[in-house]
Symmetry: C2
Subunit: 371 residues, 2 copies
């Protein structure tokens, strides 16, 4: 097994989340915190109960302020270089839940510069993906009145002047350590983290406010903010708070995270029902035994069975989920049967998403921030 | 004597321009080239005759195209962090001559980001200097219809998207070698050269043209373009041509270049007649002997006498200049007398400049490029 490596540009090996918590210096989300969220939101999102969102930085501060009547804003984003998959969807649907429950603004950053700088793709290809990814973000059904798209190249006029203030306080040594870069990295990539930092405080500059910022995101993005949280504070802004998600595993069940670079390893938001069925039946790693007889006798392994694991994202009912896990462990449910449940669940999600996605183009202009 | 060092962030030691020509791989401006310029412009600017503009890159290409009826555009700029002095003035007045004689557009970049990133100054201080420096650029009397100001932070919306295309093709290793940076350099400074490269081709993108770009500038800026000329070509644009100026020596005659960081070592464009007189009489390094008797006997050294050297910039008449040099060498003219000539010349220049400068604020808006 490869050694674990988790940063925005490389996720490798079996991810040990407890080890990440201590390496990154982030905090696990404990019961007390869950109770506080429940008391405000009226419920706890399944992703919180199931430790999909498992860690945080300074989440308490955001809740303290909120309880005093002070709203925060949300900030998340995507690096557009390919189609959107269920891994993205899971984080954004949680962000939508936060937006709805806390009634807050969301600033959504499209880091087209980042992907252009890191990938062997043309500027035009990245722009195409940026537009395509916007459709999926809109299809999440965020509140258009409270959601603002920032596209790094398009909004460079407002982002770059703030980014240089961040950049002035970050040396290449720090970047090297945080992202594993070498001297042969291009100078755009080296600068880039400053662009990703700006939305932590830009809405406050625009609105002349001093709200907290809460960032729901995959834990691989943490190095950006580990580097820049102190810088943000030195610039006179509040440090952003963060809530970290685990990676949705690839269909094939190997280590790492879901990625569009091999579309057979994930489910895309644009996959049709047949494709979903084919991919899951063909590629989803099974935790069952080789034969039905053996499976009935020995039972299946819930922890490695991708269908079982992915159901954490799509079966909201705790009771139903634990029933499935129980039966699968005892061999009462076969791998194929769990896959069938998952296919149905996912196709229901995708069908709704795809309907909204068809109407997205008309709404893009409403979502893009006008400076 | 310190070892010679010439880059945009450090000019040290006695500058050996022949050595620079071979180290930088630039070409001296020869007689043939001067004749070509004369045949187009109708005259040769004194700074060309006197080798103040002493070297170039691909100047022939610009002239070849011009002779075929194809106009180029000019690009120069300033890094605003202090008042404008005669060193800046000399380069810009030459740029104005080029604009007038060749009837071409000038794109003038204010690299406020660069200075903010490199200096221990606040963003607001740099913005104040940017505005102040604009007044001096306008007072040069550039054609307002053919001169466009680009301010890096203000125009980041059009510059940054192109800068990342440049940045993608430049590694930190290259930057290290060109500018003498280390890992403790901030990431904004590391990226910055990409921002300075963009105006080489941005006007062509804006106007959908493919003109040559000619950059009149101090030779210390050459490393930026040495790094990026090939990159510009790889991006499908014409490599910029450059015409390089020597440094106007500090008043005190030590090695290096004129700089505003010690305003006693230079003459500022806002100095009044009395201040000019005082500074020159007090600080201008003299090439004469200690006593009048000795000076009359041995004569003065034109090469180290700053008044004599600076007259190259302000006495347009070759005959008069060589007369002064002759007399000074023979001891017929005293240092004080040459200083007096220089004071008069400079005050005439400043008086005109300052009159125009008073009217500059009204014109700023006309000069700033509207994207």
């Amino acid at each position: 097994m490869e050694e674990m490596k988790v940063n925005p540009y490389d996720v490798k090996g079996e991810v040990d989340y407890n080890k990440l918590i201590s390496e990154f210096g982030i905090k696990p989300i404990n019961k007390k915190l869950l109770e506080r969220i429940k008391s405000i939101a009226g419920e706890i999102h399944p992703y919180l109960r199931r430790e999909i969102f498992f860690a945080h930085r300074d989440l308490e501060k955001v809740l303290d302020a909120y309880e005093k009547g002070e709203k925060f804003f949300l900030y998340t984003g995507v690096a557009p270089s390919g189609p959107i998959h269920l891994g993205h969807y899971s984080i954004w649907s949680f962000a939508k839940w936060l937006q709805d429950k806390f009634d807050v603004e969301l600033w959504f950053q499209f880091t087209d510069d980042e992907k252009f700088l890191h990938k062997d793709m043309t500027y035009e290809e990245i722009q195409e993906w940026t537009k395509d990814n916007m459709r999926d973000v809109i299809a999440i059904n965020f509140n258009p009145k409270k959601t603002h798209f920032l596209i790094n190249t398009k909004h460079a006029g407002i982002i770059y002047p703030e980014a240089i203030k961040v950049a002035k306080k970050i040396t290449f040594s720090t970047i090297k350590a945080a992202f594993g870069f070498t001297d042969s990295e291009n100078i755009g990539s080296i600068f880039y983290t400053a662009m990703q930092t700006v939305p932590c405080f830009l809405p406050n500059i625009i609105n002349n406010e001093n709200k907290y910022c809460l960032i729901p995101m995959g834990v691989d993005q943490d190095p950006h903010f580990r580097v820049s949280r102190d810088v943000v504070e030195k610039l006179g802004h509040k440090k952003p708070s963060i809530i970290h998600a685990k990676f949705m595993s690839p269909l094939t069940g190997t280590a790492g995270k879901s990625s569009s670079s091999n579309s057979n390893k994930t489910i895309l938001m644009t996959d049709d029902a047949k494709t979903v069925k084919r991919k899951i039946n063909k590629y989803a790693f099974s935790g069952g035994e080789d034969t039905v007889e053996e499976h009935r006798k020995k039972g299946g392994n819930v922890e490695v069975d991708v269908a079982c694991q992915w159901l954490k994202y799509f079966e909201e009912d705790d009771k139903k989920l634990s029933e499935i896990y129980n039966k699968y462990s005892k061999g009462e449910l076969l791998s194929g049967e769990v896959k069938k449940i998952m296919i149905k669940k996912i196709n229901a999600v995708l069908s709704e998403h795809q309907k909204r996605r068809l109407n997205a183009d008309k709404q893009i202009d409403k979502f893009i921030f006008k400076s």
